[in-house]
């Protein structure tokens, strides 16, 4: 009874479950990050709008999403949404859609905090030079805000990779779902789950290292040009 040989045997038999699961998890996370960020930027701008009704709606959305469990939102989108709106008949689409809706609310709050952390004098200086609100946001406020929020944003991306495991409840064959399937097939409680855990950790660890490197480069751009 050698643990190592048993492990090798297990992997060589079932590796395709892990590869497919990892690809699905990466795919969901990728779309979650990209569309979550786009929607998050829009939401944060709506939330800071001076028009009261827009402000109330976006604030309500953000608070509701942040105040309810992701698993509930996944069920609502998967079972509920197709009954009221025409939706593509695809688990993958609906699962990813739920993740995007969820992450956009968190990202919106991170971006809002970042924008509001910029000194009001920056906007005033930009406006006094004749730059409009949009131009000032694009070239003066958002670049500075983005640098400030990169750690929080990176954290959110890492969280998203882990949280995406929830969508296994609607039988999307992601890494979590496949590991659980293998647990059922093999009656082994540890091996399938630990391998999944190692893969999750490898993804998130690599991701935070990459984001850390980007952060380092951005802050270097401030100090590198000596006078």
């Amino acid at each position: 009874m050698d643990v190592i040989t048993e492990l090798i045997e297990f992997i060589s038999k079932y590796y395709s479950y892990y590869i497919n699961g990892t690809l699905a998890t990466l795919q969901i996370s990728f779309f979650g990050v990209v569309f979550g960020t786009i929607l998050g930027i829009i939401l944060s701008l709506l939330r800071m709008s001076k028009t009261k009704i827009i402000n109330i709606i976006s604030t309500a959305y953000i608070e509701l999403v942040r105040g309810t469990p992701l698993i509930l939102q996944v069920y609502l989108v998967y079972y509920g949404l197709p009954m009221v709106l025409p939706m593509p008949d695809s688990r993958m689409f609906l699962g990813t859609f739920a993740v995007v809706l969820n992450s956009s609310a968190y990202i919106a709050e991170i971006i809002r905090a970042g924008i509001q952390s910029i000194d009001g004098g920056q906007m005033e200086a930009a406006r006094s030079l004749g730059m409009g609100y949009g131009v000032s946001m694009q070239f003066i406020i958002i670049p500075q805000a983005l640098k400030n929020i990169l750690p929080a944003l990176g954290n959110e991306f890492v969280t998203l990779v882990k949280e995406s495991a929830i969508i296994s409840v609607i039988a999307i064959p992601d890494l979590m779902y496949n590991a659980d399937t293998l647990r059922g097939i093999t009656y082994k409680p540890f091996t399938p789950l630990i391998i999944a855990g190692i893969i999750y950790f490898t993804i998130t660890f690599t991701l935070s290292k990459i984001l850390g490197a980007i952060e380092g480069r951005l802050s270097a751009s401030d100090t590198s040009s000596e006078s």
Binding site: E124, A125, S128, L129, I140, S225, S227
Partner: protein, 241 residues
């Protein structure tokens, strides 16, 4: 050039400006003095609508900028503003700080904007700082760059909001020199300041504000040597010890 008619500004219950009437002529250097809380900064910030007046009218070059539907960005191009806290953009180099508005607002070419910027930098003797970032510069250098950043838009009037108040004393002179130079060139200027020496030397007219009103005005000689209003007398006694 600028006409202000019955300008009022309230922040909630606080009545900061209580009906200001004023006319600033082309090429004039107007210095605004007064105790803190008198509304002088608010008055200045109303001139380019960084504060929205509660009521009253501001007319710049025969255009009423307090009218709804006016393109305020177009109007602000004509009015440069210099802030107490400099407000340079920290993520941009000195060169980019100066060229961003001309390129993004006036659609000037990058090369053209950089030529203008270099000329302005030479004028204040900081051409070697073109590629530095603001945090590497002293307060005096930052404020001088903030002045030429506004000048790069070729404004018709320059507004100064206590431009030397945040500076170390030894740097006040270099900033005032740039401003004097500008006045000599005939720039229309409105300056809120505590620098009485500057007011005396450069000002064509000095306004004394207190409690949201212009209480007294005149040439520097009239106002400093023969103030009529008791509040002006009191204020000057306190600061000219």
């Amino acid at each position: 050039m600028i006409q202000v008619v019955n300008l009022n500004k309230k922040f909630g219950d606080l009545h900061v400006l209580k009906g200001i009437n004023e006319e600033i002529k082309d090429g004039e250097v107007v210095v605004v003095i007064g105790p803190s809380g008198s509304g002088k900064s608010t008055f200045l910030r109303c001139l380019n609508l960084l504060e929205e007046p509660t009521s009253g009218e501001i007319i710049v070059d025969d255009v009423s900028i307090t009218d709804k539907g006016i393109d305020i960005n177009k109007q602000r191009e004509k009015m440069g503003m210099v802030f107490q806290q400099f407000n340079l953009f920290p993520h941009l180099s000195v060169m980019e700080n100066i060229t961003i508005a001309p390129t993004k607002v006036k659609n000037m070419s990058k090369k053209g904007a950089e030529e203008i910027a270099m000329k302005l930098l030479k004028r204040i003797g900081l051409e070697d700082k073109a590629n530095s970032y603001p945090r590497k510069l002293s307060g005096g250098q930052q404020q001088r760059i903030a002045i030429i950043r506004a000048l790069a838009m070729e404004p018709e009037v320059m507004l100064f909001d206590e431009p030397t108040s945040a500076l170390d004393p030894e740097m006040v002179g270099e900033v005032l020199d740039v401003m004097k130079d500008l006045a000599k060139d005939g720039m229309t200027m409105v300056v809120v300041t505590h620098e009485m020496g500057f007011a005396k030397e450069v000002g064509d007219r000095v306004l004394f504000m207190d409690d949201g009103l212009i209480l007294e005005q005149g040439t520097p000689n009239e106002l400093f040597n023969n103030p009529q209003n008791p509040r002006t007398q009191d204020f000057l006694k306190k600061i000219l010890v």
